[in-house]
Structure formats: C-alpha cells, structure tokens
Symmetry: C2
C-alpha cells in the first residue's frame, strides 16, 4: 500500500485555517466560540464532508468525522486534535493534528485501502484554557474527567457561562450525553508539534510519546486596599499587585528549587484592578501553570506555592485565596499504539525516538477511555504559542505518513 499525502493541499488548508484569526498575521488568535472559531469550525467541517466523512457534533461542540469501516460493530480507531488557539499563537498547534489527520484519511482513501474498523477524526472543543480557565474542555467531558455539573459552573471572564456560550454557538444538546463509554475506541492517536526543542536538537523527525506530563493550574485572588496613588502613604498601603509580584517570583523560585529540568511553573495571567496609573491596586488575579513528569514532585511544587501565597498575604496584610482549577494525573501511552507507531516508522524508513510530552493534550484525557498514543514532529526552536511557531513541510508530511500507516494498521 502506497500512502502519499497531498502536501501542497494540506499546507494550503493550514494557511486558510490560520486566516480565521482575531490577530493580524502571522499571529493567530482563535478563542473558543468566538466568531473566528465558529468560522474555522465551519471551514474544517466542510473539508470533512468533502472527504465523504459522516459528521456528528456533541453538546460541547466536539466534532466526530467518520470514515465507516467494513465492520461497523467493532470499536473505531480515532485520531484528531483541536483548532482553537491561545491569543497571539501560531498556526500549527492542534491544527496539524486535525488537518493532518484529515490528509492521512484522504491518503488512505486514495491508496485504495478499505478499513475494517471505522476511522474517526475528532476535533476537540477548547483544548486551550483561554476562555473558561480550564484546558481540554471537550476531551475532559468526553472522558468523564469533568462532570457535566462542574462544566455548568464554568464562566468566562465576562461572567458568561459555558452553557450560555454553547447556546449562542448553536449547541443546545445536553452535556450529560457527551461522555463516551470506556473502550469506546479501539485506539486513539494524536499527531502534534512537539512544542519543545528536543527533536530538532537531535535531528530526529518523529517522536513517539510514551507519557504526558501532569499539569496543574492555580488561580490566586489577592484582595488588598485601593486608594489614590498620591494620597495614601507608603506604610499605610496594602497593595494587591505588589503581593501578586512577590507570588509570581515565588512561583519561579519553587520550580527552580526542584533542580529537575522537568519541573516548570509559569504565571501567565496577571490582572490588576482597577488598573489605573493613579490608583493603588486593590485586587489582583494570577493564574499559574505547574507541570512535572513526576506527580509527587509536582505536588511538592503546588504545596510550596500555597505556602508562599500564605506567607506573602500575612506579610502584606492582603487576603490571598488559592484555588486549584485542575490537577491531572500524568498519562502513559498504550503499547498497542506505541508499537503500531514504531512499526509504521520502521516500515516507512523514518527515524524516531521515544519521548515524554511536557505540554498536555487531549490525548491525556482520551487515554482514560481508550488505548492512546501521540506522534510528535519537530517545531523550529521548540517555539509554540507564538506567531513564529513553525513546522517544516517535510516534517508535517512525515507525521501524516506515520499517522496514516498506524491508522491503517490499527483499523485492519
């Protein structure tokens, strides 16, 4: 069987998808259920239909595009990723897994291959946490990691609930119906850019992911005392932003203190209130991302950050409230998938290495209901979540080839 991806078509589609953006090119901003996100969804669904895939969308907006197999009674094989993008991101994160997955299916169709198991291409809702503060919203619900009740509590920063946003996006089904049964899929494989520098540094085109690091997210709300910047004397101040500044620096120290390269912690969000140059900040909100491949070490970091928050609150006489938004366990890839991937690489004559994913993905949650694995391709300088994110056409092509070959093997 000869698998020949149509690379120029795929690159054109990636370029078109990048044009659905709230930021000027080359930056891509596509926050879930924004007008641009809805337009991007419509665009990819049109491509799925053109490839004769049957479409289904669940109540949270996860999309399932199915190439029916000859035996409809056995569990399907699935692939997929996401099309939403954090503010000022690039064009490859997630999209390579969706459009690359589509091209893998089209290449298999062109080759004359006829799968026994159906093959499904999944597009997950809100892999990025930008809007509702929690990443992998769609795959969390789908895998039962997030309950429909908890999902109904979610609000965006304008106070709009997830349910309201879903209604406005034309999705009015019940969230209770999103959950899939365990072992619903025979296997799930996600193609993704590495978002780190290792493959590029080693000059290896394919990474087979054996484990996904365990992320945790904290939200810290700080309440001090405001006032006029000219009138309140320095010793009388309870400045919420200065407490936030000390907490952010403590977060950095905590991650560095583990002395492990796998420990990372980031304060990516800092909102200061009221945010006027002549007003002392009365409130601040931080959002902190803490990750490690080792769950125990990550939890040590979380405890140390909580302790720092408390000490800084006492010292500055501000109220500090720490909320754990999510703290997921790391996932191991399934040997069923990693073996299919390594066999595919060998058959195609493509060099590969086993590696850990420090970024987290919908695969983390899919692994709870199905044998799961990931294919990484290199990205320039390890850069992601930036406009200069880049994966070369050759690397994308090799990723699609390996994916198509593995899907064929798993679907036989």
């Amino acid at each position: 069987m000869q698998i020949t991806p149509d690379l120029s078509r795929l690159l054109n589609e990636l370029e078109t998808l990048a044009s659905f953006s709230d930021a000027p090119a080359p930056a891509v901003t596509r926050v879930v259920f924004s007008a641009q996100d809805l337009a991007a969804r419509a665009y990819v669904q049109k491509l799925f239909s053109a490839a004769a895939l049957e479409l289904r969308t669940d109540a949270v907006g996860n999309t399932f595009a199915r190439w029916a197999g000859t035996d409809p009674n056995v569990p399907a094989v699935a692939t997929g990723s996401h099309t939403d993008a954090v503010p000022h991101a690039g064009r490859y994160d997630g999209t390579v897994g969706v459009l690359g997955g589509l091209e893998a299916i089209r290449a298999l169709q062109r080759s004359g291959f006829r799968p026994r198991r159906s093959i499904e291409l999944l597009t997950f809702t809100s892999e990025e946490p930008t809007r509702f503060g929690i990443g992998c919203l769609g795959s969390r619900l789908l895998s039962g990691t997030l309950s429909p009740e908890s999902a109904r509590q979610l609000k965006d920063s304008d106070g709009k609930s997830l349910e309201e946003a879903l209604r406005q996006a034309g999705l009015d089904g019940s969230l209770e119906n999103v959950r899939l049964a365990n072992q619903f899929y025979h296997g799930f494989v996600e193609l993704h850019i590495e978002q780190g520098p290792l493959l590029e540094r080693k000059g290896i085109p394919i990474g087979i992911v054996t484990a996904i690091a365990a992320p945790a997210t904290l939200r810290v709300r700080i309440e001090g005392s405001g006032g006029h910047a000219g009138a309140v004397l320095m010793p009388d101040r309870r400045d919420a932003f200065l407490a936030a500044a000390e907490i952010a620096l403590a977060v950095e120290s905590v991650a560095k203190a583990t002395r492990s390269a796998d420990s990372v912690a980031t304060t990516g969000v800092c909102n200061v209130f009221p945010g006027a140059v002549n007003s002392i900040p009365s409130r601040a909100v931080l959002e902190i991302d803490v990750r490690d491949t080792d769950l125990a070490r990550r939890d040590v970091m979380l405890s140390a950050i909580r302790a720092a928050c408390e000490a800084i609150g006492v010292k500055r006489q501000v109220r500090v409230e720490v909320e754990l938004i999510n703290a997921d366990a790391p996932a191991q890839a399934s040997p069923l998938i990693t073996e299919a991937l390594s066999a595919s690489c060998q058959a195609l004559g493509i060099e590969f290495m086993s590696m850990v994913s420090r970024a987290y993905h919908d695969s983390l949650f899919l692994s709870r209901i199905a044998p799961t694995g990931m294919i990484f391709i290199p990205c320039r300088n390890g850069v992601s979540h930036r406009p200069d994110e880049y994966a070369s056409p050759e690397d994308i092509k090799r990723g699609v080839q390996v994916l198509a070959s593995a899907l064929a093997q798993l679907a036989q």
Copy 2:
C-alpha cells in the same frame, strides 16, 4: 450678605451624576468620552443653563459656564474641577468642585450678590489619565503645558487617537484654540475632597492648599520571549512578567528608601501579554506614578527606578524601555487666593488649616496662567478612587460656603 447653599439639591445632583457610570453602584466608572461621560456632561451642562450661565466648550471639551459680571472688560474669576472618574471610583472626586461650584454660584445669585467680574465655572476634560495615559489633559492644553502637537500624538489603548475620540464626541474645533492667555483669569479656586486622611485626623473641616506635589508618570515596556508554559525549560526563559514583578517591587523600595512620608510611588497598571495561563509572558507594560512635594527628591526616585529597570533587564535578558510620560513641577498657591480663602473661613467662623496636596489637580496647571488656590474638605478615612469614597453633607456645605464667599470677594 447671607450665603445659604441648597444642600439637599446639591446632594441630589451629586447622586444623579454618580448614576452615569459603567460600574454598578456604589462604584463609579466614567472614562473620558465614553457614552456615560458624554451623558454626564450633558447633564451638568443642563444644570449650568438652568442657572442662567452662558456656555462655551473648547476643542478639547473643556466647558466654561459664565455668570456675566457688571464689568465685562476685566478678567473673570474662575472655579471648577472635573467630572470624569477612574474605573471603580467613588462619587466625590472632581464632582464636588463642579456641582459645588455651581451651588456656590446659585447661592450667590439667590443672595442678591451681583459680581463686578464675571464668574466662570470650568469643567476640565480628562483630569484622570485612564484613557490617554496623561492626567489633566484639558487643563494642560488650556495652560499651554501640553502642546497641540503633543496632544495629537495621544492614543488610547485601543489605538484610537485623541483627535478621533474628540470627533466622535462631536468636538471638531482646532486644538490650537484651546490655550488661554496668561492672566486670562483674575484668579482660580478649586474645591476638592482631600483624598488623604489629614483633615479628618485633625478634625478640621477646611484645608487651604499652599502647594501641590509634583507628579511624574513612567511607562515601562518589557519585551522578553514567550512560548508554551509546558515546554520551555526554566533556565531558557526570558519571562517579561517576572521582570515586571521585580520592577514593581523595586518601585516600592525606591519610595520607601527616601525615608520621607511625602515620597510615594505606585505601579497601578500591569498588562501582561499574551495573558494566557499556559503561555509564558512575552511582553508586559507597567505604568508607574511617582510623587513628592520636593522636586529634587522626586527626581532622585525617578533615576533610581530607571537604574533598577536597567539592571533587571540585563539580569533577565529582556528588553526594558522606560518612557517618561510626564514630569511636572510642583505648584505654589497664590497669596491672593489663599488670603481670600482664609478671610472667608474667618468671616464664616469655620476652622481651617494650611496644607499640601499630594494628589494633583487641574489647579496645578491653572496656576501657570492665573493666581490659583484650592479648598480641601475631609473625606472618610482618607479614601479616594474607590467606591467607598465619602464626604459628609456638612463638610460639603462648608466647602461650598467658603468657595462662594471667596468667589464673591475676588469678583468684587
């Protein structure tokens, strides 16, 4: 002459003015040229007209409401303040000077007083720096402190220019015509809440301002390197927000290091870009307010902050750019005005004290073209720029009485 302010009418008007707000009561948010600001302007101008004052509005939206004197050829006496409000402010800052000024004029009208000099009530545009990053926009232009060319460079955070905002507010005159001649007014008196705790602590109802502290504003832009929060290792990071956090803490240290109670420095604005929990901050913008009653000491603080910015930039390998937005000289009140005010207090049997204003006001700029002074009234706990800002009806009444009496004396 019996001056009897109609306190309940004035309190009603203050309450109505507070209802023009983009924040829920008791908070007041009224940013210059927002729909609420335009509605508030229309409301006070209707009140001015009802008091038979002649209205004029200049090209930047400063409003002049004139009670014509018997001798139209001599310079007028003026009072006034502003009606814009920082986000989540209270209802007294500025408004007491505008509506209290109006009530002072109405009380004089009712008393049968007929001024020789005209009395003008001024409402200045954008005393607060919220939108265009520079405070006292109207009075700066009016006094020639800000040139029309510089004003034309101003943009809000959406990139909209001041001129565009003026056009949309229906103001299409030339900014060249805003400047008033030196000694245009015989004198200017502004009634204002103290925005500090001294009058309340001492139990004295009236402060006569002898000097206004010199404010300076810095904008610091920090450019680091973004990336995915899970993927970039800690030693490889150039996190713009962590540099911003260190700078904000340095600003605090610098103000405390002078060991003078009159030195204050505040980082009131911190914008982090891209502002997603799983993206390393690539850029941050700080706005810093630095004040002192002593110009030399303030400039020492500015230099120390610049030095800290440079050192932090080098240490964290981020680009730090410091822009001096404004650095005004302190103003001394005119004896003509302070003597009229103390004579008024004595005539009314109201206790007063001389004091310095650490907050700055349109009076700072009016002092460059006319003999100027200010009346302070107490505000509860010294609180301002907060929803719980409060001045008692009795204190407001005494302020209006002193203002009316001084205006009468100066206009004779």
